[in-house]
Symmetry: C2
Subunit: 294 residues, 2 copies
């Protein structure tokens, strides 16, 4: 069996003294056309090359303060096939830089289609002409609205490949209240989602005691964190929303009750759009490390 | 403003006397390597060419009995960039055959990322080298777990392009009960999702009175259909699950209470895997048409 995501993350957190996950949300509209070469290529190809190069630069400058990158699949998909090729390139570049890759696609579908997403992310697709490998990422985000049977093929594929799975539990956007916070007789929907995550946590358990069956828990509603940690005592949390969305690192202490590698904190624009991305990543690393090890 | 999805669908339903949506879930493992040509291409490229050709054949044989196709994005994504190129090709081929294209990706993310998905599906991405068009589909599926603000950019893009949006309300898999059926003080979660859909339905309203702000309502739990139709009196329903998953056309009458074009019934394996796909599609067309116009 491959080494589990939870164990690989734990080793990297200890080595780098970091829990920062670098969000990669490249926007071709923000790029400069200066200095680009192959003018025979299509706009999509040129833009895809440019966002891949931009992500590589960001990984080279800020990656050292991080343990993971989180490419936002939407940002690559909007460039079509060249965008998907750029995504694969960026995932490879992050791996070469020693970073874990968390593909942020929030996929979720009925079991037969969920199995196809699993192939795309961490599996292999058999064809009469040979196997086609998927992205080969270290972890990915999923949407649990369709229930446990729809998560099952994704969790099974993660198990086989040593990957992690982050299911949406309580997201960082204001609209999260509309559905995720609806009250049921046994607590709000997001606590029921937490129950589903915890029910699967034994499947992706590392030797470190943490589980790669993780949860997306936004940093913008810190009042939920302690309760969600109690409901998911073994799960790694992926925590978006610091910086641009208003989440504050100093309020995340409860997430780390399961240990310094029990949560990773994702920042995208806060690092990428900073005048000095390396300094911004290092500042966040220090802030989160302090909170995580207090 | 472009003609709305609801109006285009209504015209096509009347013209073809059909509500059938042909699911395109190509599986390269099921294809034959016989007769393929370019042996210098990679396995992914050869498989992508083969699934595109397979989808074209299916559209040519069975498309005449249908009003729409529903490519499952996962099935294309698992072949990487060549798979995405095949998806674009298949969408184009379906459009040439006079079929509406419903991209089935069940996307959903925080607003900034939802806007990027909207660009990928029905919008345009600006780059310094020129605009990159998205898939240009007629409609797409979305996951509403993240709430109204996360749907907003997708609905706005649909509005601008005359597209339809199908939000998951009650899916066709057994696990749908886990979250979608959770009871809240004001009804099960799927009824709350229906309320969100209805709240947005004024946005994508056609002159026909139906709204392209639609809902995915599985055919495998027909006991919910009448109630969901009452909660979403203007929305077009996209109804998967007939055939392989066990849904029966004769139980879908309540979905058509808003008119013969107020629902489309999706079938994938039931048509694609039939000995005679054209006959299977025609049989389903007749069955659904009877139920829809009774």
């Amino acid at each position: 069996m491959p080494k589990s995501f939870a164990d690989r993350l734990t080793a990297l957190v200890e080595e780098r003294r970091s829990q920062v996950c670098l969000g990669l949300d490249p926007d071709p509209a923000q790029l400069s056309a200066a200095g680009t070469s192959d003018s025979s290529a299509s706009p999509a190809e040129r833009a895809a090359d440019a966002i891949a190069a931009d992500c590589r630069r960001l990984i080279a400058s800020a990656g050292g303060a991080c343990v993971a990158v989180k490419p936002q699949l939407a940002c690559f998909e909007r460039l079509g096939a060249p965008g998907w090729a750029a995504l694969a390139e960026v995932c490879g570049a992050a791996g070469e830089a020693g970073l874990l890759v968390v593909a942020d696609g929030k996929r979720g579908d009925v079991p037969v289609s969920a199995a196809a997403y699993a192939q795309a992310l961490v599996g292999v697709t058999s064809t009469p002409w040979g196997d086609v490998p998927g992205l080969g990422v270290d972890a990915f985000t999923v949407n649990p609205l369709l229930g446990v049977d729809a998560l099952e093929p994704l969790v099974a594929a993660a198990e086989a490949s040593g990957a992690g799975v982050f299911a949406l539990v309580r997201t960082s956007n204001p609209g999260a209240a509309d559905v995720e916070d609806l009250e049921t007789a046994e607590g709000p929907v997001h606590e029921r989602l937490a129950g589903i995550v915890d029910g699967l946590a034994g499947r992706l358990l590392g030797e470190c005691g943490l589980s790669g069956m993780g949860a997306v828990v936004g940093t913008t509603a810190p009042e939920h964190i302690a309760r969600l940690r109690a409901l998911m005592p073994r799960s790694v949390f992926l925590m978006p929303g610091v910086g641009a969305q208003g989440g504050r690192p100093e309020l995340l202490g409860a997430a780390f009750a399961a240990g310094p590698s029990s949560a990773i904190v994702a920042a995208s624009r806060g690092i990428a759009a900073a005048d000095d991305p390396a300094a911004a990543a290092e500042k966040l690393r220090e802030e989160v490390w302090r909170v995580a090890t207090e």
